[in-house]
Symmetry: C2
Subunit: 239 residues, 2 copies
DNA sequence: GCACCGGCTTGACCTGGATCAGGGCGCGGC
DNA sequence: GCCGCGCCCTGATCCAGGTCAAGCCGGTGC
């Protein structure tokens, strides 16, 4: 895992959430070089390969460059509980800071490339670059809110609609189509994440199709009536 | 709201989560004075009074000194959703950082006294006191995990047991009895927080009582069989 | 081609917890 | 004392979504 191109600003990983920060706030040549030292492009992680496992020592957070990651824990009866999906541009590992061990497993759903950041070095740099500290606080705080979203007592329709709209927005904010999306995860994973049975996801997707809200073909989904879906999910997503 | 006793180290608010940090890490007279400037003791907030409301501009986080705070949001149909309870020593307002507005309401359940910290000033100070930055990162990261706890698909028994054990642990870590506890919130609030109906909470509490797991008298609870309760809640709390 | 396998769908049935309805009890006001 | 009001408890009924069982469909190996 070589350190990345240290002289060439053009090649500085453009999908990393932090590069923009570093460039935007108090950016200068010296600091850019400091950033380079603590960024490491890793991968590819093929489908099914773990990026980290519960209990592993925490040392770095990572931005997804390409592919999709699923995080999950297993309960004492061995059942899996999906905690989240991470798309390109999103940051993984933040919940590990407090206990200095990863509290969950992270596995690649599709071939994944990562931008890995040493967290201790990052924190040190953050004391010198206020914008970076801000960005870290922001990312952490944002995740607190996100985690609570699915905790509410919403019915299955609301959950699934919110899931689709959420994905759509996340893809859209990264420049992908907000209406045609490819689901990188299985129905079972979606169901598990939403705390529903796979059969329920299947049935509701069927109903959404009958009501012309979506078009579904295997893992390709087209959102036909975003307004209605947004409406269904407004209690979950809080606009 | 006067700034607090600036000269006297003995009087420095002992229940504030951050004072300890400041004292532990790179503590010196100058920095202690800096801490004082950004700490403000506020209150009392009588039962039912709001500490902040959804949409209020975010400027400070606060440690609870005494009393209990409930946070909640209201959905578009006006129904309340309880997000959490904050006991003495716990920090409130962290989820507001990312959007610079409070994303929820916070109301006093019993007369509350607060230690209020200007967050911008706090962040600035954190660039000078690495231990403080660490502590902030830790607090934020911790909350990410906490929020996810109740999101799992647990049954009503597991939820209620986890609630009781969780409270017990939190009180214990602040020096209160881990077995005899006073519930500052109503059954309705507990039910709402756990995403159950109040009737369900009542029935399960009844059953726990019949099974000699707890003794219940109005809002006073004694945990009679902690081992069994811990066991019931282990999937939720993950030990 | 065919057989197998894993992911998905569909139907029939069951159940945990919500909902509805009613009643008790402690506390404050008068 | 008595009344009224919140809060809490309890029983009867209902239903969203889970579970069980079976079939489908596309992809892969032979």
């Amino acid at each position: 895992m070589p350190l990345i191109d240290d002289g060439n600003e053009q090649n500085f990983c453009s999908s990393c959430a932090f590069s923009a920060v570093c460039l935007a706030s108090g950016y200068d040549k010296t600091r850019l070089r400091e950033m380079h030292v603590l960024v490491e492009h890793t991968g590819p992680y093929e489908e099914g390969r773990h990026v980290f496992r519960e209990g592993d020592e925490f040392n770095s957070i990572a931005a997804v460059r390409s592919g999709t990651i699923k995080t999950y824990v297993t309960d004492l009866e061995g059942r899996e509980q999906v905690l989240g999906f991470y798309l390109p541009g999103e940051v993984i590992g933040l919940s590990a800071i407090s206990r200095s061990r990863y509290p969950c497993n992270a596995v690649a759903l599709e071939t994944v490339q990562l931008c890995r950041f040493s967290f201790p070095k990052m924190a040190t740099l953050a004391t010198k670059v206020p914008g970076l500290q801000q960005e870290l606080f922001r990312l952490l705080s944002e995740d607190i809110g996100k985690a609570g979203l699915l905790a509410g007592d919403f019915d299955a329709d609301e959950r699934l609609a919110a899931f689709l709209v959420g994905l759509s927005r996340r893809y859209a904010s990264r420049g992908f189509s907000p209406t045609r999306l490819h689901l990188p995860m299985s129905r079972t994973d979606i169901a598990n994440y939403l705390r529903l049975a796979p059969e329920t996801v299947s049935r509701i997707l069927r109903r959404f199709r009958d009501e012309r809200l979506v078009r579904v073909e295997r893992r390709e989904i087209e959102l036909l009536d975003r307004a209605r879906l947004e409406d269904l999910s407004r209690n979950v997503l809080r606009t």
